[in-house]
């Protein structure tokens, strides 16, 4: 079976501080995979390493193609859309310009315009606010904008970094519902990093547990959800 993403022996460091110590995992095409673990386990760093935002070594195969030496800007062009922690909003540009920026790596004008409408159909509030400066949006709206921006790439793989961070539980629910329909209807594969383990496991097909830069456990999300000992030991619920 062909994997969408295959990670083998991934190491990453910030300067002298090594964060990932030989990570292995893979993502099936069309699936939602989640990385779970405590603060400092290396979840965010893993996403950054995939995108070339930190120094990394090891194999990163996207559809079988080695991308561990590619620049961030080129990895985007291979269809990997990263929704970074902090949402990465372009605060001084309008909502619509933020979405246009999401399609910066594309050239097909007609496709971009129809995808803009698609994003607006998933997030009607963004359409209402499209001429507003993005810095004036609420946290939830900015998170929707970040997801919308990622969709504008028409990505094969979306990397989602703590999409629930700082949001009210109701808004979080709403956004996760949208993730589910995006995965089903638009066939976008996702790699989700999330503090809220129960929420992540509900959405995901597959889960990996990280501890200090290593995978300590992996399995089907359902199985982990039902395994009380793991839930208690690692996930705290």
């Amino acid at each position: 079976m062909n994997k969408l993403l295959e990670i083998k022996g991934l190491h990453a460091a910030y300067g002298q501080t090594r964060v990932l110590h030989g990570l292995d995992f893979e993502i099936e095409p069309g699936s939602v995979t989640t990385l779970l673990g405590a603060n400092g386990a290396g979840k965010t760093t893993t996403l950054r390493a995939i995108c070339g935002m930190v120094k990394r070594t090891g194999d990163i195969l996207l559809n079988g193609q080695q991308i561990n030496r590619n620049q961030t800007e080129d990895i985007v062009r291979l269809g990997v859309a990263h929704v970074p922690d902090g949402r990465g909003t372009f605060l001084r540009q309008t909502v619509e310009e933020n979405l246009q920026l999401g399609a910066m790596a594309r050239r097909d004008k007609a496709g971009i315009a129809s995808d803009m409408e698609l994003v607006y159909s998933y997030f009607p509030i963004l359409k209402k606010r499209r001429t507003q400066i993005a810095g004036l949006l609420s946290g939830g709206e900015q998170q929707m904008l970040a997801v919308g921006r990622a969709l504008m790439l028409r990505p094969k793989l979306m990397l989602l970094d703590e999409p629930s961070f700082g949001l009210a539980p109701m808004i979080t629910r709403e956004i996760f519902e949208i993730f589910r329909s995006l995965n089903r209807n638009e066939k976008v594969s996702m790699l989700l990093v999330e503090q809220n383990a129960s929420l992540a496991l509900e959405l995901a097909d597959h889960a990996y547990l990280l501890e200090t830069g290593r995978v300590v456990f992996s399995g089907r999300a359902e199985a982990i959800r039902e395994d009380e000992s793991i839930r208690r030991a690692y996930l705290g619920y």
């Binding site: 800007e73 062009r77 990263h82 540009q93 920026l101």
Partner: protein, 292 residues
């Protein structure tokens, strides 16, 4: 009253030059967060290139266009060769580089074209515009070209893909890379555009102040004053600030007896100090807030 209007108009005309320089300064400031002290000397060097082309017999407007193009490429090359490798260096390294660039350009210009004062032609001539005593044809031309330049830049940033990419790169460089914007090239592009705008300013002001390697020294101070007054983070504000500085300078020079012609430059410095003390963000800039 006649004198007042005349001085205001003259102020707007010189203000056009300050506006260009201020805009060039802001261009690089928004891209890399540092003031380019060599901006004036880059403009001076460009003007010498134009002078050389004209001396070789190239028609004025061809020389004008060629100089803008050469300056653009020069700006990009300076960024790629000198500043790009030091992108993450501390601010002092940048200041030293700017000053090095300044002295290198001044002495190279002096070496090639010597330090004697040269006249520079005006394409508009120095006759009064339509026989009016208010404004000369060259002054009107300065204002006109500046206006066209500003409008073109506005449209570029507002409505083109590259313009949007450049804004994004300045707004949030990390996020810009994540959507595929080649941020480091956007910075080089900013340098190129700053150099080209500076070249225009140099060629417009050279008929007035005459061409020599130190001709932009005072003008850069006025340009800084304009940029600071308008807000270093706001291109539109910098332009307005440039015009305001031109007007203030002219009025103060004429109507405050103590200042006269000699103390004019002091006004620019006073403006810088006053703005930084009273409203550090400038008229239209953002106040920077940093979490510590």
């Amino acid at each position: 009253m006649e004198l007042l209007i005349q001085q205001v108009v003259a102020g707007i005309a010189t203000g056009a030059i300050y506006a260009c320089v201020a805009l060039a300064v802001v261009m690089i400031y928004t891209a890399i967060g540092h003031l380019n002290f060599a901006q004036g000397e880059m403009a001076m060097f460009s003007t010498f290139i134009a002078w050389q082309l004209i001396t070789w017999g190239v028609p004025y407007w061809v020389a004008f266009a060629l100089t803008v193009a050469i300056s653009f490429v020069g700006g990009v090359v300076i960024e790629r060769l000198i500043f790009h490798p030091l992108a993450n260096a501390p601010i002092l390294s940048h200041v030293v580089l700017f000053i090095a660039l300044l002295t290198i350009l001044t002495s190279t210009a002096g070496f090639i074209w010597d330090f004697s004062i040269k006249t520079f032609p005006s394409p508009f001539g120095s006759a009064p515009l339509f026989g009016s005593s208010l404004i000369s044809a060259h002054q009107a031309g300065m204002m006109g070209i500046t206006l066209v330049l500003l409008i073109a830049l506005f449209f570029f940033f507002r409505f083109t893909r590259v313009g949007l990419a450049m804004r994004a790169a300045a707004d949030n460089p990390v996020s810009a890379r994540l959507v595929g914007v080649r941020v480091s090239w956007m910075i080089a592009l900013g340098w190129g555009m700053a150099a080209a705008i500076g070249a225009v300013a140099g060629m417009l002001v050279a008929p007035v102040v005459f061409l020599e390697p130190n001709m932009m020294l005072g003008i850069l101070v006025y340009g800084f004053a304009g940029a600071v007054l308008g807000g270093l983070t706001s291109p539109g504000g910098a332009v307005l600030g440039g015009f305001l500085v031109g007007i203030i300078e002219n009025l103060a020079g004429t109507f405050i007896p103590v200042i006269g012609g000699e103390l004019k430059l002091t006004i620019a410095l006073c403006i810088i100090v006053l703005v930084l003390v009273l409203k550090p963000g400038g008229l239209f800039g953002r106040a920077t807030v940093q979490r510590v």
